[in-house]
C-alpha cells in the first residue's frame, strides 16, 4: 500500500542455533504508533534488527518508504531514528558530544542538539561523560539521539527501560508529538507498559511469529495478553512445532 513507511511481507530469519522469526507480515503507516508486545525471547529485537538492516531477511521482504530496504538510497536512512538494545553512545564522550555526532551521522542540523538537551531534560548532565551517567540518563540520551533529527520512521526497542515515571511521560509526549507530525513509530515491550498503551495498534509476538492484535479497549489487558500467548503455545505444542 502506498504511504506505508515500514512494511514486512513474509519475512523470516534463522540464526545458526535455530532460533529466529518466521512469516512476519505487518506495516506501520505515517502518523501511526504500533506497539510490539512479546515475552523475553519472542523475537522482537530480531524483528527490529531486520527493519533497520542489521539483519538481512532470508525469506520475504522488508520495505522502508516504499523501497526494499536493501535498495534504499543512503540518504533515506537519515529519515530513520532508532534505539535497539542499549543506547549506542560512546563512554568517553559527553552527552552533548554524543548527541552531536549522532546528529552529524544522520545528516541532521546540529542546532537541534541543544533543543534535544532541553526537551529530554538533559541540561544538568549535558557536559558529563556518558560513562558517568545513571541508567535513566543513559536511556534518555539514547532516545534523544534517536529522535532529535525528527525522523519519519522511529524504531525503539523497549524504550521505557530504566526510565522513571516522569521520563516515561516525557517519552509518551515525544512519541505522540512525532506521530502527530506524521512519523511512523514502532515500539517494543515485553509487557503492556505505559508506552505501549499509547499505541494505535498492539501486535502480539510469540516464539518468533506475530500471533495477532490485542484489543486495547478491553479490561485487564495483561491477562488478555498472557492468555493469547498461552493459547499460541498450546496450539503450537499440539501441532508439534519446536521452540524458537
Amino acid at each position: 500500500m502506498v504511504g506505508e513507511v515500514l512494511d514486512f511481507s513474509g519475512v523470516g530469519f534463522r540464526f545458526h542455533g535455530g532460533t529466529g522469526v518466521d512469516d512476519l507480515a505487518f506495516h506501520v503507516d505515517p502518523g501511526e504508533v504500533v506497539a510490539l508486545i512479546g515475552l523475553n525471547g519472542a523475537g522482537k529485537t530480531t524483528l527490529m534488527r531486520l527493519a533497520l538492516g542489521m539483519l538481512r531477511p532470508q525469506r520475504g521482504r522488508v520495505r522502508l518508504f516504499g523501497e526494499p530496504s536493501a535498495d534504499l538510497p543512503d540518504a533515506a536512512w537519515g529519515r530513520v531514528g532508532a534505539l535497539v538494545e542499549v543506547p549506542p553512545a560512546y563512554p568517553e564522550l559527553t552527552v552533548r558530544e554524543n548527541l552531536r555526532i549522532a546528529c552529524l551521522l544522520r545528516g541532521g542540523d546540529t542546532r537541534r542538539v541543544e533543543e534535544a538537551v532541553d526537551r529530554w531534560r538533559l541540561a544538568p548532565v549535558a557536559d558529563r561523560r556518558f560513562r558517568r551517567l545513571s541508567l535513566g540518563d543513559r536511556q534518555r540520551t539514547g532516545l534523544a539521539a534517536a529522535l532529535q533529527h525528527r525522523p519519519r520512521l522511529v524504531v525503539l526497542d523497549e524504550p521505557g527501560n530504566a526510565l522513571d515515571p516522569a521520563s516515561v511521560i516525557l517519552l509518551r509526549e515525544q512519541l505522540s508529538r512525532r506521530a502527530g507530525e506524521g512519523a511512523a513509530i514502532l515500539v517494543s515491550s515485553h509487557h503492556l507498559d505505559e508506552v505501549a498503551r499509547i499505541a494505535d495498534r498492539v501486535l502480539l509476538m510469540n516464539r518468533g511469529r506475530l500471533i495477532g492484535r490485542l484489543d486495547t479497549t478491553g479490561a485487564d489487558l495483561e491477562r488478555a495478553f498472557f492468555e493469547r500467548v498461552r493459547e499460541d503455545d498450546e496450539r503450537r505444542d499440539r501441532d508439534g512445532e519446536g521452540t524458537r
Binding site: 540464526f15 545458526h16 534488527r49 533497520l52 538492516g53 542489521m54 539483519l55 538481512r56 543512503d74 540518504a75 533515506a76 536512512w77 537519515g78 530513520v80 532508532a82 535497539v84 538494545e85 542499549v86 549506542p88 553512545a89 560512546y90 563512554p91 568517553e92 564522550l93 558530544e97 555526532i101 549522532a102 552529524l104 551521522l105 544522520r106 545528516g107 539521539a145 524504531v155
Partner: protein
Amino acid sequence: MITAVRVEALKLARSPVGGTATLALVLGIVVLLAGITAGVAGGDPRLIAKAGPAAALDWEGLVAGAHQIAAAAALLGFGSVLSWMFAREFTDRTITGLFALPVGRGRIALAKLTVHLLWAVLVGLVLPLGVAALGLLLGYGAPTAEAGGALARLSALVALTGILATPVAWIATVTRSLLAGVGGTIALVAIAQVGALAGAGGWMPLAAPALWAMSGGAAVNAVQLALVPVFGAAFTVLTCAAWARLQLTR
C-alpha cells in the same frame, strides 16, 4: 565521508586510548633509547653486542637504534589501537548506532582507517623530534646531514608502519574481539621478524619499511616499498567490504 572522519577523529582524540598510545610510542621509544645509550656508555658488553650499529654513541647510532625499536614498537602500538577502534564498536555495543545511517558502514570503516593513518603520520612527525631532542641532550651537537636523512626515514618508517597494521582492522572486524586484534598484531610482528630472518627482505611488505629505513634505502628498491600501500589497500578493501556486509547475527 568527511563527517565520518570528523566523528572518528573526535572518538580517538577524546579516548584515553589515543593519548596513552601516543605517549607510550613517543616517550616509550625515547626513554628506551636513553636506556640503551646509558648501557652502551657504561660498557655493558652484552648490550653492545646486541645493539649492533645502534651501539655507536653518536647521531648515527642513536637513529639506528630508533629505527630498530620503532619498527616493532610502532606496529604493536598501531595494531593495538586499530584493534580497539574497530572491536570497541562491538564490545561497547555501539555498533547498533552505526546501522540505519545515511553514511554507509563501509565508509565508516574507511573513515576509521583514515583517522588511524593520520594519527600514525602525526606520531611519525613527533617521534623524530623526540629522538632529535634526546640527541641534543646527550651532547651530540647539531644533527649531521646523514642523521637528518635518517630521522626523515624514521618519520616515513612510522607512517608506513601505520599502513602495515591495516590487517588488524579486518581481524578485529571478523572476530569482533579486541584481544584477537591484538593477537593479530603480535602475529604481524612475528611474521615480519621471521620473514626478515628468512631472507624475504624487501619483497615482504611487513619487513620492507624497516629494512629500507635501516639500510639508508640501499636494501629495498622503490617497487618493493610501493608494495606497502598495495598491501594496506588490499586489507582496506577487505575491511570495508566486511563492514558493508555486516549483520548482527551474534
